[in-house]
Subunit: 227 residues, 2 copies
DNA sequence: ACAAAAGTGTTATTATTACACCCATGA
DNA sequence: TCATGGGTGTAATAATAACACTTTTGT
């Protein structure tokens, strides 16, 4: 077939979210080149010729954070393709969200002058992200927030073994609410398949030792948790 | 910037769903050219050089169905970009779902030898769709099914004014369940913002005249309807 | 002993389910 | 008058929300 179609550059961008210092934070890269030189942007890069979209997301995540995809929840968020979204050329980006437990302090990637975590409320209130990345971040945060309601995804923000109150802390930080510790405990421990007890306990939060749990086999919460 | 990125063809594909003859049906186009010549495929086409993604979806919808985007719910489903998904070239497709009230019998579009509605269960059980369109269709149907739970989207499958039982029929067909007419009636009429009464009544379903409603201003159902 | 966090019990309220029953029309 | 669907009432069950109270650790 002759080339009678417009050529477009396809990129993959990542909304990498974690809970750090009691805030929901996103990973940003400071751009080393024009356009938007010196501004913060979401990590991402070009799709390679023989690479599927999820593979590109895993690769970018590894390049930017040094993290392998184990213990990170990666899912496609959506695609953004306004004709003027990149002044250099026509691009369509496929955005992914990555939810992870507190990651190591980021090391600057190849293209990046610097990399750091930012609380998402600071990024969304005023701070100017490059390209349409504020929109992508906003959509990614909203996706994460609503998925906590009806999936056991909050555990992606926790280490492999965690306590009920660590899990509750994730909900409180991501949603910006407070939850009744007692009702929350009942809800998550009684919802079948949400949590699998390890049998171990920990006192790392102080007070009475707490049961440690791993994520269960459930993929949907029924009924959902309400914000 | 020099072209040091791989060039990819970006297409937009549509999962156009409607409720027809008591079945959930999807619009398909018979391919007139190789590859997959003669097989059924989802409608779609190349993204144009100066076109945003939603605009391309609206344009393709109009070209394939003659329908303008009024009274059709269009939303992005996701992107699919396996390197071998099209044998001719590297493509990434951005899929949209379009939910519409019973549309006119389709007229064949420019590229298409033929176009028709197929019940989705027939398309997903055995019938061979071109490319990765079976996956896209399956994802689109699942998206539509779950969105009926927590949004007032079922009304997109109804004409501008509709009765409660017409709305219930949509749920029953899309979910493949039966619902108690009395409890359903209470639920949808009592959920604030779901339905706006027009004041008119109709007897088009026989029996006692039913109130006609338009869609309300709610965008979320709280609490959700359960399958 | 006391602070701190884990976890259980209890009650009021709200939502869902199942189903009896009445209403308003056309044939 | 009868069939057909529209619509309300009600009681049993289930889930949520609010909060008193007990448990088990560290200091």
């Amino acid at each position: 077939m002759p080339k009678r179609f417009p050529s477009v550059a396809v990129t993959v961008d990542l909304v990498v979210l974690t809970v750090r210092d009691d805030r929901l934070q996103a990973l940003t890269i400071r751009r080393g080149e024009a356009p938007y030189k010196g501004q913060w942007a979401l990590p991402g890069g070009f799709l390679r010729p023989d690479e599927d979209l999820p593979a590109a997301a895993v690769r970018e995540l590894h390049e930017e954070t040094g993290v392998s995809s184990d213990r990170v929840h990666l899912e496609q968020l959506g695609s953004y393709g306004a004709p003027d979204r990149d002044p250099r050329m026509r691009t369509v980006t496929v955005a992914y969200i990555a939810l992870a437990a507190d990651l190591p302090a980021p090391t600057a990637g190849t293209d990046a002058a610097d990399a750091r975590w930012w609380p998402v409320d600071e990024l969304l209130g005023g701070a100017a992200l490059a390209f349409d990345h504020a929109t992508i971040l906003r959509d990614g945060v909203e996706r994460a927030r609503s998925k906590l309601e009806y999936t056991p995804l909050a555990a992606a923000f926790c280490p492999a073994e965690f306590t009920v109150s660590e899990l509750r802390h994730v909900y409180e930080v991501v949603w910006g609410t407070t939850l009744d510790p007692r009702n929350f405990h009942r809800k998550v421990t009684k919802t079948d398949g949400f949590l699998a007890p390890t049998g171990e306990t920990t006192t790392r939060d102080g007070g009475r030792p707490a049961q440690l749990y791993r994520t269960g086999r459930a993929v949907q919460l029924h009924p959902p948790l309400m914000r």
